[in-house]
Symmetry: C2
Subunit: 245 residues, 2 copies
DNA sequence: CGGTCGGTTGAAAACAATCAACTTCTGTGG
DNA sequence: CCACAGAAGTTGATTGTTTTCAACCGACCG
């Protein structure tokens, strides 16, 4: 973040209107903004580091800040009073979250890995939106995409089998890793089996068993429990799309 | 809609900045807009009637219009290639849908009952948003709420039992009926058992059986299959919140 | 009056959950 | 550096909720 020998920093300087607070480019929430929009964002930006498993904010808290992931992974989740949990999303570098327009947070946010965040004060962000139509339109577009992603997740949760859920999940991780410039085939799975289970509406045992079965079928390989090799991507895609058992 | 003896029309005239295209007030997408914002919306508004079970648009179609429900009920759904279906939302008078910012529709929209809609050309709406920050902010706020609702639905689909799902669903229908000024206790259930099942991630048989069981337990009464009396609302709420079996 | 459609009920099957044991990995302290 | 403890993950046996397959009921309509 401060070493001048970091090759990324040079790239950022050359690329022009990039935030400069992080190494992210095209995928990021702030990427591609005009100089003006970036200036505004930078002016209200704060930084934050969160240890693995620590909470950024809790469901029901007054929503006083929005965040962007710089490095690490964050999960958003909701709880039932008896402890049942649903993870409603995983966030990777470039992703934006916690935007509630002055209400309360609808979900809790916790770091999955050690994480660096950009923090934007809600009130200042809202004021900035008043002044920066470009930014507001971008946020609107982002919310449209988020909603569409949530609808796809509903299809997964309501209508897919365990195997289809896992295939879909692994391909999603791979696609997003690729978008950030990370390797897409031995794909990193930074979250625990419990987090995966709570995201897919399954139990840890079913996640584990299903992965083992997929390995046996030559669909994937598991070099470590946090690394999945997508051996037969086409077959995975067919399964994820509900065209095969 | 045109009779001068309709008491609603007088109310609308008195209330000032109400669209006038429909009988809706506070809950509506356009309610509470400034005269200016309303003028803009009215200028790009078209009307549309859709018969029950007919399609407004299909998943994957280019998104050339957004819509608001005036009367009737609309469902949004996604399909898997083998026919499995997930209903991702029901829309009632005042609700806004089909807003995709120039992309393609992520879901299909079908009328559940005979339905009247306001139609807004996507390109004109986007141009209007450029000119009307008030409207864009409202839309942004709406998307935030929609997303939060979608996240709650994920919790339901991933982690609730059939009985909890039904309790939650009936209370949601009741709450929204009340918000529109409709009776909240013998609550109207305009959609078929299949639509309910596809919304809750269940089968029609499970929906039917669960309703029967809830009737037997004195939680609800079923005057007709499309009308549900919420006999014991508190118990329903406890079940919906996951505090009781 | 027969036919179809939507809804309900019954019996059997299946997928995933639960309960439980065991293995592997990780980190810590001797 | 090794030994141990705890956490995370895997595997096995069994249970159970929901699905599937099937029959039946009642309403609406030609």
């Amino acid at each position: 973040m401060s070493s001048t020998s970091n090759p990324m920093l040079k790239l950022i300087a050359e690329a022009g209107p990039i935030c400069g607070c992080c190494d992210l480019e095209d995928g990021a929430f702030c990427a591609g903004l005009s100089d003006d929009g970036l200036r505004g964002l930078k002016a209200i930006r704060g930084n934050l580091r969160v240890d693995a498993q620590h909470t950024v904010f809790r469901e029901g808290d007054p929503a006083d800040s929005a965040y962007a992931v710089v490095t690490g992974t964050v999960k958003l989740s909701k709880l039932l009073s008896d402890g049942r949990r649903q993870v409603v999303g995983f966030l990777f570098p470039g992703d934006f979250f916690g935007f509630a327009l002055g209400g309360t947070y609808a979900v809790s946010a916790e770091a999955v890995t050690p994480t660096a965040l950009c923090r934007f004060s809600e009130s200042r962000l809202e004021a900035l939106l008043d002044r920066t139509p470009e930014l507001e339109r971008r946020l609107l577009r982002r919310m449209v995409m988020e909603l569409s992603f949530a609808q796809e997740q509903m299809l997964l949760l309501g209508r897919m089998t365990a195997r289809e859920k896992l295939a879909h999940f692994l391909l999603m991780l791979s696609r997003r890793a690729e978008a950030r410039g990370d390797p897409q085939s031995p794909v990193a799975v930074p979250m625990s089996r419990l987090d995966m289970a709570d995201y897919l509406g399954l139990t840890i045992e079913t996640v584990s068993r299903t992965l083992t079965a997929m390995k046996k079928d030559g669909l994937i390989a598991l070099p470590t429990s946090a690394l999945v090799d997508l051996v037969n991507r086409d077959a995975l895609r067919r399964i994820a799309d509900g065209q095969a058992g």
